[in-house]
C-alpha cells in the first residue's frame, strides 16, 4: 500500500513533471547516431542534474559506450532491503521520418498522450520511476533503499551492459530489481513479464564486381550479389517457416503444460492483433504453433533491412557491386547467442557462391531471460500493479529483448520484475510513438507501491 502522503506528493506537481518529461524527450538520444556533440551524453548529464534536483544522488559514469547514470536514495531504516531500478534513456532512430504526424523530437500532447520518439520506450517509464522515488522521499523516509541504473545503449542491444554491471557490481548490489520497460497485455490489463527473448543481430554483405556493372553487357557472366543475397536470406527458412540454421532449435526449452494453459486464459484476440498490424493474416513464424507461443517461446529469424544496387526512381540496368542484409534472430531459453552466431557464419560460408565474397558482422547479442513464477518480487509487483491500476496483472512473456534483465539476473543474482506499464498501441520502435499521461501517473504509483510491498 502506498501512503496517501506519497500519492499526494506525486500528484502535487504533475504538470511540472510532464514538462520535465517533454524536455527529456526533446533530446535525440539515439545510441548509434554519430552526431557531435553526442546527444546521449547531453541526455545523461541532463538526467543526472534532474535527479539531483529531485533530491536523489546521481552520477554520470563513463562506460565503454554511452555513459550510464547511477543514482541512489537511502531508506529510512538501516536494515531495509534494496531495490535496483533499471531503465534506459536512449531511443530508437526515428525513421521513416515521413510517417510521423509530428516531429519525433518535439513532443506534442494530443488526446491525453505525449507523442515523441522514446515516449513509452523508455523515457516515460524511466521518468515515472524517478517521480515515484522523489514523491515517496518528499512525503517521508523511503521504505527501501533505491539504486538507479540508467543505460544509454539499450536500443542497440546493450553491448556494454555486462562490463558496466561488472564494474559497478558493488554499488548495484540489491535484493530485487524492477524494470519498467514492457507493455500492458491489453489496453485494460497490466502485466508482469517473466520471460524475454534474446537476440543475435547480423549484417551480411555480399560483394561481386568491383563496381556496379551494366546488366546487359555482363548479365549471364557476372554473379549477382543481390540475387545471391536473396537466395541466402530465403534459405534461412524452410517452407514451413522453420529456421534452417544448424542446431538452431536444439536448446529450445519446451513450454510447460501449465504455462500453455495459463496463456489460453489470456484475453488474446488474434484478429484484433492482426488488424493492429494492418495485416490480413499472421503469416510469420513456424506453421502449426499458436501465435503466443510463436511470439513468446519460439525463436525467430527476420530480415530487418535489405539494400543493393539501384533503389531510386524508375529503372537502372545494373548488376550491383554489393548487397547487404540486416538479419536478426530472437532467441528463447536455453539458446546460446554465440552458438547462433557460429551457425550463421557457417551457413554463409557454406553458401556463398563462386565469384562473390561474403562478410558477416555481429551487431548485437543478448541471452534470453526467464524468472521462476514463484519469485517474491513477482508477487510484490503483481500486488503493486493491482493497486495502481485496479486490476490483477497478466503474467506473460514478451518476444522482445532487454539484455540487461538477463545480465542483472546472471551477474547480480537478482530476481527481477518487469512491470508492464505502457499500452499495446504505444508504437515503440515505430512512427508516432506515444505515452499516455494516465500511464505516467499509474507507472509512478505502481513503482511506489512495489517499494512499499518489498519493505513488508
Amino acid at each position: 500500500m502506498v501512503p496517501e502522503a506519497v500519492t499526494n506528493a506525486l500528484d502535487a506537481n504533475l504538470d511540472a513533471h510532464v514538462e520535465g518529461l517533454c524536455e527529456f524527450l526533446r533530446m535525440p538520444s539515439i545510441a548509434n547516431d554519430p552526431a557531435r556533440p553526442d546527444p546521449c551524453r547531453r541526455c545523461a548529464e541532463w538526467l543526472g542534474d534532474q535527479m539531483k534536483q529531485m533530491g536523489l544522488s546521481a552520477e554520470v559514469v563513463d562506460a565503454p559506450g554511452k555513459p550510464v547514470v547511477l543514482g541512489s536514495a537511502p531508506a529510512g531504516e538501516a536494515d531495509a532491503p534494496t531495490l535496483l531500478i533499471y531503465a534506459h534513456y536512449d531511443v530508437q532512430p526515428p525513421d521513416p521520418l515521413d510517417a510521423w504526424r509530428t516531429d519525433p523530437f518535439e513532443p506534442v500532447l494530443r488526446d491525453g498522450a505525449i507523442y515523441a520518439r522514446g515516449a513509452s520506450d523508455d523515457k516515460g517509464p524511466l521518468w515515472a520511476a524517478l517521480l515515484a522515488v522523489a514523491a515517496w522521499r518528499d512525503a517521508g523516509p523511503l521504505p527501501v533503499n533505491v539504486t538507479f541504473l540508467l543505460e544509454g545503449e539499450e536500443e542497440i542491444g546493450s553491448p556494454n551492459i555486462d562490463a558496466v554491471v561488472d564494474a559497478h557490481a558493488e554499488r548495484l548490489s540489491a535484493d530485487a530489481a524492477v524494470i519498467p520497460d514492457t507493455q500492458f497485455f491489453t489496453a485494460d490489463l497490466p502485466s508482469i513479464t517473466y520471460g524475454l527473448r534474446g537476440l543475435a543481430y547480423f549484417e551480411l554483405e555480399l560483394r561481386g564486381p568491383s563496381e556496379d556493372v551494366h546488366s546487359g553487357l555482363h548479365g549471364g557472366a557476372a554473379a549477382n550479389p543481390a540475387d545471391a543475397l536473396a537466395r541466402l536470406v530465403a534459405a534461412l527458412h524452410d517452407e514451413t517457416g522453420t529456421v534452417t540454421l544448424d542446431g538452431f532449435y536444439d536448446a529450445v526449452r519446451p513450454v510447460t503444460d501449465a504455462e500453455r494453459a495459463a496463456w489460453r486464459e489470456l484475453p488474446f484476440d488474434e484478429a484484433a492483433y492482426a488488424a493492429s498490424l494492418g495485416v490480413s493474416a499472421l503469416g510469420g513464424g513456424e506453421a502449426g504453433r499458436g501465435v503466443l507461443e510463436r511470439l513468446w517461446a519460439r525463436p525467430t529469424l527476420d530480415a530487418n533491412g535489405l539494400v543493393a544496387g539501384y533503389t531510386g526512381e524508375g529503372a537502372k540496368t545494373i548488376i550491383p557491386s554489393r548487397a547487404t542484409a540486416k538479419v536478426s534472430c530472437r532467441l528463447v531459453p536455453d539458446q546460446d547467442p554465440q552458438q547462433v552466431v557460429a551457425a550463421f557464419r557457417d551457413f554463409v560460408a557454406a553458401r556463398t557462391p563462386e565469384g562473390l565474397t561474403a562478410d558477416v558482422r555481429v551487431h548485437a547479442t543478448a541471452r534470453p531471460f526467464l524468472v521462476p513464477l514463484d519469485e517474491p518480487v513477482l508477487r510484490a509487483g503483481r500486488e503493486a500493479l493491482q493497486e495502481a491500476f485496479g486490476c490483477p496483472p497478466a503474467m506473460i512473456r514478451c518476444g522482445a529483448s532487454i539484455p540487461v534483465a538477463e545480465c542483472i539476473q546472471r551477474t547480480l543474482d537478482l530476481p527481477t520484475a518487469l512491470l508492464g506499464c505502457t499500452l499495446p498501441d504505444d508504437n515503440p520502435h515505430a512512427p508516432n510513438e506515444k505515452y499516455a499521461l494516465a500511464m505516467l501517473r499509474g507507472t509512478a504509483a505502481a513503482i511506489a507501491a512495489l517499494m512499499g510491498n518489498l519493505a513488508r
Copy 2:
C-alpha cells in the same frame, strides 16, 4: 573510301569539336530525373542549335516523353540512297557518386580520354556522327542523304520510341540505318553487332504491416515482406542458374553451329574478362554453357536493386512494412517481352504469401534484335571500320538492349549496322565513364566511310 578532303575537314577543327563535346557532356540529361527545368529538353535544344551551326537542318520535336531531335542533310545526287543515323543524348544516372574520381558532369581530359557520364554511351559517338556528316558536307556534296534520329530516353528503355518512329515514319524512311552505340570487341578489335538482347524490367513491391513494427514484439506473428521478397527473388532461378518463369525458354532461338564456330575464333579471354569485373569467377547465368553464349544468346534475369526496412548504420530491430526489388530480364530472339511480363505477374501472384500484398510495375520492355549476316549494310559497315581503324571488325552479338534497333527494323523495315566504336573499358553505366579522343576521331572516320560505301 573517304576522300582526303573529308578527312582533312574532319581534322581541321578537332580541338573545337572536343570543346563542343565537353559542353554536351556538362548537361545532366538523365531521362528519369524529375529536375526542373528539364535538362533533357535543354540538351535537345542545344543539340538542335549545334546541328544548325554545322549546316545541317534540325528540329526539336515534342514526343510523349523526352523530345527527340530530327535532322537531315541532302546528298549531292538526287537518286542517292538515304542513311538513317540513330543515337541518344540521354545518359545513365551517375550514382554511386562517391565512386567517381571527378564530377560526372564536369568532363575532364585525362590520358587522352574524356571522363564524364555519357562520354561513350552515347554522347561521344553521337557527336562523332555529326562531325562526320559536317566534315563531308564541308568538303563537298554528301554521297548519301542523311537523316538523324536523336533520342532522349534510351537509358530508360526507349518507352516512346515506337510512337516517335510511327509518327515520323515518312521523314525517317531510308535505305539503311547505322547506330553507333556498341563496343569494340577488344581494345584492338572493332566490331559490328548483329544481335542485341531485349529487356523486360519490373519493380516488385511486397507490403506487410502498415508500418515498420518491432521485430521482438511481433517477430513470429507478422509475415516479413523482406524475407518474402528474398524468397520470391531467390525462386526466380533454380540451382543451375536457370530462370524459373513459366515458358521463359520456349521461344529461345538456338545458336547455329556456324555462329558458335565463329565465336570460338574470337580473341575472348575469360580470365581477363573476369578480372576486368573484379571477380574471381564468372558465376552468372546458366551452368554448362559458354560465357559468350550466356551473354549474347541466352536470356537472363538479374535483380538490379533491393531495398527494405532499415538500411542505415548499425542495428534496428524492425520488421519492414514494405520491400521492393527491381528485377530485369534480358531477352533473346524470339522471346516476346509481353509473354515474360505475363509470366512474371503470374509468378508473383502465385507466390505472394498470406498476410502480404504484392504490386508489380513494368518499367520497360524491348524486343530482342538480330540482323541476317548477309545484309549489305553489314558489309558496308565492315569495310568502313576496317578503313577507319585498320582492322577488319569482329562480327558479334551484344548482351545489352537498344530498343530502337529492333523498332527501326520492325517499323521502318531497315537493315541496321551497329558500329562498335567505344572501348570495352569505357565503363558505360558505371562510375568513371570515359571516351578516348582517338575513338572520337575513328568513329567519325568510320561513319564517313560508311556513307561513301553505301553510295557505291
